[in-house]
Amino acid sequence: MKERAGKAKRLAAILIIGLTWSLLLAAGPALQAREQQKPVWEFGLTGELFSRGIKWSDQTTTLKSTNLMFELRARNLGNLFNLSFFGGLGLPRPNGVVFDQLPLTLQYQGGSITGLLFGARAEARLLPASDFNFGLMAEFSSYLGFKKEFALSGLVVPATATATPSWSQASGGLRVTYDALEGSQPFLEVAGSYFWGKFKMKEKIEDLEGEQSVNLKGVSYVSITAGWSFFLVDKITLVPKVRIFPGSRTGIGGGLSIYYGF
């Protein structure tokens, strides 16, 4: 099983690197011929929901998260890049994670834990071909959960558990846009996506104490995102998108962003 996952991971990496390399080679002449456009600055608000398969030791569960972020985006930087920085609140629900190294084994079923979510995203438009434009994208996001304390009820003495999750996610891959529509632009992204995190749990049962950190990893290493940018009126853009993580039955998500240009 592990061997098959390793092979799939390697194959995905080779495919993405190969495609990226060929794209960069082909993009050179096209970039030189491109007309200069002014950069556009936008302020955005994004709400997203996703669930992603995660694993630790030999166990798996699904991490569900609701995120709300503010975003600052610059489009057409150097006539090539879109660059954005985002930050806001993440509310992941890492239900199912088991802490079996503590004196009393704990299984987290406590729902969402609020934390700070921030990151950056870059998109490069490299190669126009007919009505399509092929490019690259890269995104990094990090979540730092606030400490959340739970009472362990049902024991004969006072007991608490303090949960502190954190995770990061890095994605990079291909981005294709369809540019033939006036006022809107559908896009598709196929990316390698690596997820890693740490879920720290502290247990205190009267004077019995224990602490354990569980290292989390994503179950799938590829994400496919489909979305549509709608340039509604001047300066306002609406971007709905859906995302799947192939290889993980529960890996699915989506969101809606609204941008205001200034």
Binding site: T62, L104, T105, V156, A180, E182, E206, L208
Partner: protein, 478 residues
């Protein structure tokens, strides 16, 4: 590049597509959540069904309450519980036959129904109206086209041991109602140590030894022979043969770690752990502190290959404190060993030694089948927890068994309560060997079911031990 002007004709399209995409996403996420909820519900309902089945089996068994152990030896194993299905059998035909032929042969036996399990070509056949499984099997076996035909045997819950006398062990699983113990008292449902639930998560490590410092162990007993690592040490007669010439040590040893799930006898709490006998009590039932002290040091230092002592049970006690005894306890404790002792059977205030050495030793009181503290159980601030100690069935030496009886007997006392805790400690230490004895003592103290007065009290300590709560994952909920 021809631009298509959609702005006027389809000005609401972007909003419609956005709404559709978001709706699709919400529906998919909700479906996943709904599927997970259904899975959770199915899990819960199957657990409920299992417990209902267990209840049904228990109440059926209770219809014939045997009082004496002798009676069981004359009955077949698990009376009243059929070993196989009364309506289904499994049939496999010779491989050269086609499906058409096999099914026409099957139809000749007029089954009510049948289905093929592909890959292994085995038919599950429901016998015909009025026919019995036995008759149909006999007829099928006579058919030369059939490779084999066999009953559809019953399954049981994995963690429910198949030991013949398990149903008399209310301490491990108390079904409530009329109990099959002397006097046939009415027991409170689940006034037990929740062993069956705990065994789903821990069955113990064979390399973890529990030293029984007592009157020795009958290491030839059929339910103990495979569990006793050596003939041990006899500190009374000063030799290396801790054979039990009393009965007490063998009874205690059976409660801790009798061979479990071996279709005979009783189940032990520490299913897979092994025992090390140290004889410190004479045939007359007496012993000296010096022998206990020596035995503590010997057990603490004992190794055999990978096997090491992790728990010491002392169902013994004396009224007087002794610094040398405390020092021996401290020595064993510092070697990482969990020490468990009985609080005493005088029904008075005042816990016996070594149990009263609170820092190093768990003091165990005796509770009964109704989760009430036995009136003989000593009380005091040193009492840590309680465990069943009234009419507890366990092993007795074969040599001391009356002819015609099985080598098992019911006994009462805090001596019978302590080994439940020792077995429990062994299960914890097997699963989490990195925990120090102090942490294991705390885990045992803080996870029981509160009985008697609310909170800690001098009679039950923190309560009657709950092995399942300490060994199964504790759910953190909002």
């Amino acid at each position: 590049m021809a631009k298509i002007n959609l702005k006027k004709k389809f000005r609401y399209l972007p909003i419609a597509i956005s709404v559709l995409l978001v709706l699709a996403m919400v529906i998919i996420v909700n479906q996943i959540e709904a599927q997970n909820k259904i899975k959770d519900r199915l899990g819960t309902s199957s657990q409920k069904t299992s417990s209902r089945l267990e209840e049904a089996l228990k109440s059926r068994l209770n219809q014939t309450p045997p009082v004496k152990i002798k009676a069981i030896s004359q009955q077949p194993a698990l009376p009243g519980r059929p070993k196989y299905s009364a309506e289904k059998i499994l049939v496999r035909f010779k491989p050269e036959l086609s499906v058409q032929s096999t099914e026409s042969i099957l139809r000749a036996y007029q089954p009510r129904d049948y289905k093929l399990i592909p890959k292994i070509n085995v038919y599950v056949v429901k016998v015909g109206e009025g026919a019995t499984v036995e008759d149909t099997l006999a007829a099928l076996k006579a058919n030369p086209d059939i490779l084999y035909a066999e009953p559809d045997y019953r399954l049981r819950l994995a963690a429910q041991p198949n030991d013949q006398l398990f149903r008399y062990q209310y301490a491990l699983f108390n079904p409530g109602g009329t109990l099959q113990i002397p006097g046939s008292p009415t027991g409170k449902n689940r006034a037990d140590i929740k062993a069956t639930g705990a065994w789903d998560f821990a069955k113990g490590d064979p390399d973890l030894l529990i030293a029984v410092l007592d009157s020795g162990i009958d290491y030839t007993h059929p339910d103990l022979a495979s569990k006793v690592i050596s003939t041990g040490k006899d500190f009374v007669n000063d030799d290396n043969d801790a054979m039990d010439d009393h009965w007490h040590g063998t009874h205690v040893a059976g409660i801790i770690a009798a061979a479990t799930n071996n279709t005979e006898g009783i189940a032990g709490v520490a299913w897979n752990c092994r025992l090390l006998p140290g004889k410190i009590i004479s045939a007359e039932g007496e012993g000296d502190y010096s022998d206990l002290i020596e035995a503590l040091i010997w057990a603490a230092d004992y190794t055999s290959g990978q096997a090491r002592v992790g728990v010491i049970n002392m169902s013994v006690g004396g009224e007087e404190p002794a610094s040398s005894l405390e020092a021996a306890l401290e020595y064993a404790f510092n070697k990482g060993i969990v020490l468990v002792a009985a609080s005493g059977n005088d029904g008075l205030a005042g816990v016996l030694y070594p149990a009263a050495y609170d820092e190093f030793c768990l003091a165990v009181a005796a509770s009964d089948y109704n989760d009430e503290i036995a009136d003989f159980s000593n009380s005091g601030p040193e009492v840590d927890v309680a465990a069943p100690g009234v009419w507890v069935l366990s092993t007795i030496p074969v040599a001391l068994t009356e002819p015609g009886y099985l080598p098992y007997a019911f006994a009462t006392g805090t001596s019978m309560a302590a080994p439940h805790v020792a077995g429990f400690a062994a299960l914890i230490k097997s699963g989490k060997p990195w925990l120090n004895p102090g942490d294991i003592m705390k885990l045992i103290k803080y996870t029981p079911d509160d009985i008697e007065a609310a909170g800690r009290d001098d009679y039950a300590g923190y309560g009657r031990i709950n092995t399942e709560r300490a060994l199964s994952p504790f759910k953190i909920v909002k």
